[in-house]
Amino acid sequence: METLERIIAEHPFFAGLDHGFITLMVSCASNVRFKSGTSILKEGDPANTFYLIREGRAAVEVSAPQHKPIIIATLGLGDILGWSWLLPPFQWKFNARAVEDVRAIALDGECLRTKCEENHDLGYEVLKRFAQIMEQRLDATLLQLLDVYGARR
């Protein structure tokens, strides 16, 4: 458990987080690995986990009938994967797949939600960090939607 605590504390997502909060969270955490090509999460499945990526790269994909899946983002060292565990209906809205061997810390969403409800200071810290990630992804999506490299119309 010592090691997990250190790994979580050193991950950029939790940079600067009070050590007491990390101790609280560590019981929700486990080490996971995904071989290149394997599915990490699947659209529509219950969202019970999020991942702190430590190594490798994962692709977030959308797929539509009769179309090949489109990769809309890749995530690597220092990134987090998944926030659907945080908000109802707690279901994944995208697929994610390892495009390289991935090592990550998985945090049990239900366990963490319970701890956040019990300790609102922890909840606020977690929510602030996710809000920042959401803002960054929203910005990136906006730029993506603008299709800035396309021919001018």
Partner: protein, 281 residues
């Protein structure tokens, strides 16, 4: 630095010979021109542009994308999107092209000595920055780290793919490439170019950053660079407008108080920041 005023007859094109092209993407080509008179070649400053005459069709401002120390040839990367660009890339080998220039300001390669050079490019914006990369790699000991962050629409839209791989193998050089949309076979990064910053081991206090791409991309990039702690005065942008005379007479490329052809195309971000958000410009 070579400036517009050093050209004795700026409005008179020199005759160059079209020596061939490389197809970079389905609509983008890299052309090589050589002076018809071998003694009349020209050096240029990374970031400068030429006016290329396609005789009988029209004239185009195109950034020079080749090696700045090569006097005997000029290299341009052109996206074929209109009549004149299409005519340019459809030239027969041995055909004539008129060249005026080089014109405009270059990238701050002197100010960047001893510092990390951060190159942020989007789409065909890598073309005006390629001479900077050539220059830094040729004068490697005079510069700190070279970081190239390059974004394109999709894998098929990436320029200079072989060179990107070879630059990445150079010492003290980090090359990160991303695409906005990746097909299932693409194994690299997917996401807009700003998403690369977090992987780039940036040291803002010892860096000079040079940015070129669509204007809206540069707005997002500069905003994020500031968030990362880069100082405005150490960020440079290359701007693009409809340039005609290239020497600041005609006013076609007026941009607020500046003429892009004469005062740019490379500007310190600090100077043009207030203009970037004015949609009328």
């Amino acid at each position: 630095m070579i400036s517009t005023s050093s050209i004795t007859e700026p409005m008179v094109p020199e005759r160059y010979v079209f020596r061939g092209f490389t197809k970079e993407t389905p609509d983008t080509f890299t052309l090589t021109l050589e002076p018809e008179n071998e003694a009349s070649g020209t050096l240029f400053q990374p970031g400068q542009f030429s006016m290329l005459w396609v005789f009988g069709v029209g004239e185009l401002p195109i950034s020079i994308s080749g090696q700045p120390w090569q006097r005997d040839r000029l290299v341009y990367t052109v996206r074929s999107v209109g009549q004149a660009t299409h005519a340019l890339v459809s030239q027969k080998v041995g055909g004539d092209v008129g060249v005026r220039g080089p014109f405009g300001t270059g990238w701050p390669i002197e100010a960047a000595r001893e510092r990390d050079v951060i190159v942020v490019a989007g789409g065909i914006g890598l073309a005006p920055l390629r001479p900077v990369i050539y220059h830094v790699l040729r004068n490697r000991k005079q510069y700190g780290r070279l970081v190239v962050l390059y974004g394109a629409r999709s894998p098929r839209d990436l320029l200079y793919r072989k060179e990107l791989s070879s630059w990445a193998r150079e010492p003290d050089t980090q090359v990160l490439v991303t695409v906005d949309y990746g097909g299932i076979g693409w194994r690299g990064h997917v996401g807009v170019v700003t998403t690369l910053f977090k992987y780039a081991r940036l040291q803002p206090s010892r860096s000079i950053t040079m940015v070129c791409g669509p204007e809206i991309m540069m707005r997002f990039v500069t905003r994020d660079l500031e968030t990362y702690g880069f100082k405005r005065e150490e960020i440079y942008l290359s701007m693009e407008r409809n340039m005609k005379c290239a020497v600041g007479f005609c006013g076609h490329c007026q941009y607020g108080p500046y003429f892009i052809c004469r005062d740019g195309p490379v500007f310190p971000y600090e100077n043009i920041r207030p203009l970037l958000e004015k949609y009328e410009l």
